[in-house]
Symmetry: C2
Subunit: 701 residues, 2 copies
Amino acid sequence: MDRIFYPNSVVVFGVSEKSDNLAANIIANLKAFNYSGDIHAVGLRAGQVHGVPILTSVDALPDSIDLAVILTPAATVSNLMDGCGKKGIRRAVIESGGFSEFSEEGQELERRVCEAAERWDIRFVGPNCISVVNMENGLCLPFVPFERRAFKRGPVSVLAQSGGISITYLLMLSEAGLGVNKVVSMGNKANMDEVDYLSFLLQDAGTEVIILYLESIEEGRRLIELAATSPKPIIVHKTNVSRASAEVAFSHTGALANDDEIVSVALRQAGIARAASFDDAVRLAQGLALPPVQGRNLIVLSRTGGHAVVAADAAEVNNFRLMPISEEVLDDVRSLLRADVIALTNPLDLGAIFDFRLYARIVEKCLNVLNPDAVLVAHTYSSGPEADSSHELAYQLGELARKLYKPVAFCPFAPRSEIETLQREMGYPIFTEIEEAVRVLAASRERSAHPARLFPLPPPPARRPHEVEKLLVRDGVLTTDTALGLCAAYGISVAEWAVVDSVEGALVAAASMEYPVVLKVLSTDVTHKSDVGGVALNVGGPEKLREEFPALLARMEVRAPGAEVGEVLVQRMLPGGREVILGGKRDPSFGPVVMFGSGGVYAEVFEDVAFRLAPLTRESASEMIAEVRGSRMLRGVRGEQPVDVESIVEVLLALSRLLVECPEVTEIDVNPLLVFEEGAMAVDARAVIRCRARSGPETGI
Amino acid sequence: MDRIFYPNSVVVFGVSEKSDNLAANIIANLKAFNYSGDIHAVGLRAGQVHGVPILTSVDALPDSIDLAVILTPAATVSNLMDGCGKKGIRRAVIESGGFSEFSEEGQELERRVCEAAERWDIRFVGPNCISVVNMENGLCLPFVPFERRAFKRGPVSVLAQSGGISITYLLMLSEAGLGVNKVVSMGNKANMDEVDYLSFLLQDAGTEVIILYLESIEEGRRLIELAATSPKPIIVHKTNVSRASAEVAFSHTGALANDDEIVSVALRQAGIARAASFDDAVRLAQGLALPPVQGRNLIVLSRTGGHAVVAADAAEVNNFRLMPISEEVLDDVRSLLRADVIALTNPLDLGAIFDFRLYARIVEKCLNVLNPDAVLVAHTYSSGPEADSSHELAYQLGELARKLYKPVAFCPFAPRSEIETLQREMGYPIFTEIEEAVRVLAASRERSAHPARLFPLPPPPARRPHEVEKLLVRDGVLTTDTALGLCAAYGISVAEWAVVDSVEGALVAAASMEYPVVLKVLSTDVTHKSDVGGVALNVGGPEKLREEFPALLARMEVRAPGAEVGEVLVQRMLPGGREVILGGKRDPSFGPVVMFGSGGVYAEVFEDVAFRLAPLTRESASEMIAEVRGSRMLRGVRGEQPVDVESIVEVLLALSRLLVECPEVTEIDVNPLLVFEEGAMAVDARAVIRCRARSGPETGI
């Protein structure tokens, strides 16, 4: 990948002297950005653009060119790749469109390009991409002409699924004063995908913060694993939020887990900040480009009461603590004041101090004496004489932040030309909204607090319990006893049960348990057995059982005609206990996901559920339970006894192991799990199996 | 108020030739903004600033000056007001600080200023205010120097509680290209408050959209009543979001209603858009300054697939419908295309059309043929030759929107200098974020859909049921029977009850009802009677009653010693029914508020409650019920019978009447209300009374 972003020489294909030639714009950009390597051009007709001669054949090129940039009709590209290959060129950026994104013929053309690349061992970006930009060496390859001064070099690299949006980010990051390091739009990803590019950016020295713009995530699990161990902050702007899923889910877990929610959960688990918009992504990048926020203590300086109020609100919303300012610091502030017309609290209102350079001194004192986790300076000034002193303040704050390695968010309120001057000239992010500055400081704090252990790498492949092998033998819905057996195999306590095929068998089984019992029909043809009368609750004694058993089968014949009902499950009916629901499903991109929710109607009516990618850690299992509002009821409300929440953690961990070790399980519900003052027991379970030809745990896990 | 914003002549007090004189900045601003009237200056020493001679006495001024602007030490202001009064000046802007906001002496000085004003019938802004600005006539009174070119004249007026923030809005609205009409910072509001200013702006011809920045709302009810009938869009940016209320609420309603939630509900009811930040307020003003959005049909044009995806997401989130584009329009688009490389759907991807002026033609066609409710144009271009054609497009879109009176949101992605040119030159709002553009279009749609009837003016004072008079006689907590009686007086069905003072009385009462019954102690000293064992549920027959009655009283002696327990309430225990909770409280600023919530633990655990200011309409009562998630259970889940939701509407309306007509009731809970397949019955009620000296319904209602 190094040779793509740091080539010693570049050749652009498709160049002509015509005024509307797009490839010529690439030459123009390389010149405008002072690209440090050699530039060559190849086209149909000899000539010259921007001082670069146009050669008419690959053979005329010198040897050892690092990178080919191709912008010729789709049909010509595979031949060109062969030409490059012969010439020893091993990297390419294919900007041409008209491939798989366009038509079936294009798909064929793309396949041929891939074959040529394989023949010559060429790695390439695209096809159908706009941008590869490296601000370090002036490699600017978009075919849209840019002015150098519109772009600022900085610490953020962007990886975008869309060309237009890569340009939008290039502009926005530059204008926000943050600056860009590298940009790539991935196009059709025929040869390299987001995981390849992200791997490169993670070890790229010039990249400190990464923004990913994605419209789909195919390799979610790999992306997450890569990000979870990244020392560099990653921001994902994911659009194309899934519309109401067409597929009807079998389980509660499936129905409750919408795809976008899984994306959010996965990103959060990997410590990735999710951006809601372009501006949001840029602001998050600003916050994450500062030294990290390590805790809740915030100090706010402002020049007007109004901005102080806004900052205090934002601090509360974002769970910051406006730490008390000690007398030592206040004495220092007082000594700087001419009049005593100031509220010496936090936020510190400095409206009465007109020499702005003193503010830096106050910030330094605060940082040294109070050691806050972050400082916000909401500064107000107008153009004219106030501007010079404000510029000096801005510069000093930047120096302080660097020297003391503390996040100082500078948020000036001034005419736009002033803000732009600061954004252009200061080497650190300038904020323009107090609320947003505080919010991204909180995002930085969350990143610092994010324990990588919340998303551990998968454990070494375990030998799964041998009972499992005989349970997961055919595709489809498991019968209740098999599903319960699967749970039991993973150590989940299950309410005592027996499978019988006659009323006599049922009587024997019930006698060995304890009345009351429950009867449930076993059938893979019935999805919701209670809906068709396939359950008899609260069977209190043998007489009742003698009545209910045949009645159950009779109901099935009427309400589920044709369903194969062989056996009946007799289960002890447990007294008391609080109901919760647990489950899991296998996301096509992110792999196994565990769910926890309030029991009964709560989960559905209030959508009161939490999700996590498996494998779960003990901490993340506890976190899931805490996230579910209804779990407050488990801890005892209105004087009720609390139940054994720790036992739910154990069941969640067991379910996580089950999902990781049994890739055949695509959906599973444990519903309800009854939680008692001590222990918890699964009462019912459902699962869907798809065995396929699998030789071990699923890809990526 | 006209004379404040449109004075024919202004005199500024406190002017001197010294370089740091703040009052001189006011003269400078009036000059810089080409104030159309006469300017006079008064100071301690004769001289001249910015071409205006400084007079040393009020007497030296000509007669018939309209407005005095005062920036002299606080102690001098009341005398100056007398001087103004003698000279016939009847309006003033007092910018000086050091009054009630500063100290007790300042409070006294403020009182004297008010007296002087009353003597001479002078109305004034402030004291302690920065801004009165009218961009129509160049009246620019802040004492901070401004450059005229930083400000743009436009349709938005701003009313701010903070001076610094009024300046922030002045700059932001100008820079967003929207522009400002009038600005006032209210300072200490000694003579005029937000309701006065708002009343003026509502009838001011130059003001089309109003932004209010408020840190507190004292006259909430008046504000809301004023806004509810306003034809002009109003945006409120309310900060100083209340911290955890110190006051411990007596009722569930009180505990569940946090002050900020009441603010949100009240603003929503009045059709006011609530802004979350400065930027949000400016964006909302942009959206509301466009012709109104009247429905859900949206058409999106974009130049890149990425921006189209972002727009489609935003449309879905904001409940817009991407309406189908008819063949007639598509044919027109096709005829403009050179290549057929475009997806002809909505969003319409125009990336293949490079003559941007054609876009206006497509928009016009869409508006004429399809009659959408809004159009969003996400345009992408770079500087250079593309810019000219884009400027023309921007101009044409503005003309189209005006001509056809339809909202066309133009959202260009281009270098900042380009955006700034558009914002400066186009006479309509330019958006910079797709998501935000769509969101404010939705805000406009909601405003259009807002039926003023959701917040009707209070009904003419009604004669309240005469039984009420004897129930509301003393302050404090009502006993359960009185609270139930109050409900019954307003037509709410209450489960049959009787008050007894002996076990014999209880037996007689119970016999006339039907067993089982409930016993509840009656005591104004006990806040939560079940917590101290003051309730006996499910008393199944006379023997049980004989046991429970004395046991109840005995428990009270142990668990609530000293509480005066005179009588006991015997109530029929109703079988079945679904529990809900209703309530009301009196907000000090907004007046009576009605609450509805899920019953049982739902309301608390899930904070599943809805609020509305009273008086309720039938529609808003229904809306409250629909807002509460748990009410889905009332409509029948899992095959249960639905209950009589309409009967809850009746009870809510009754409660609304009760709160409006009985200002003595400060808090009330009806908890639970049992809702049956037909009808609903209150089972328990609690209320707090504060009689005070009131002769009728509360102020403002």
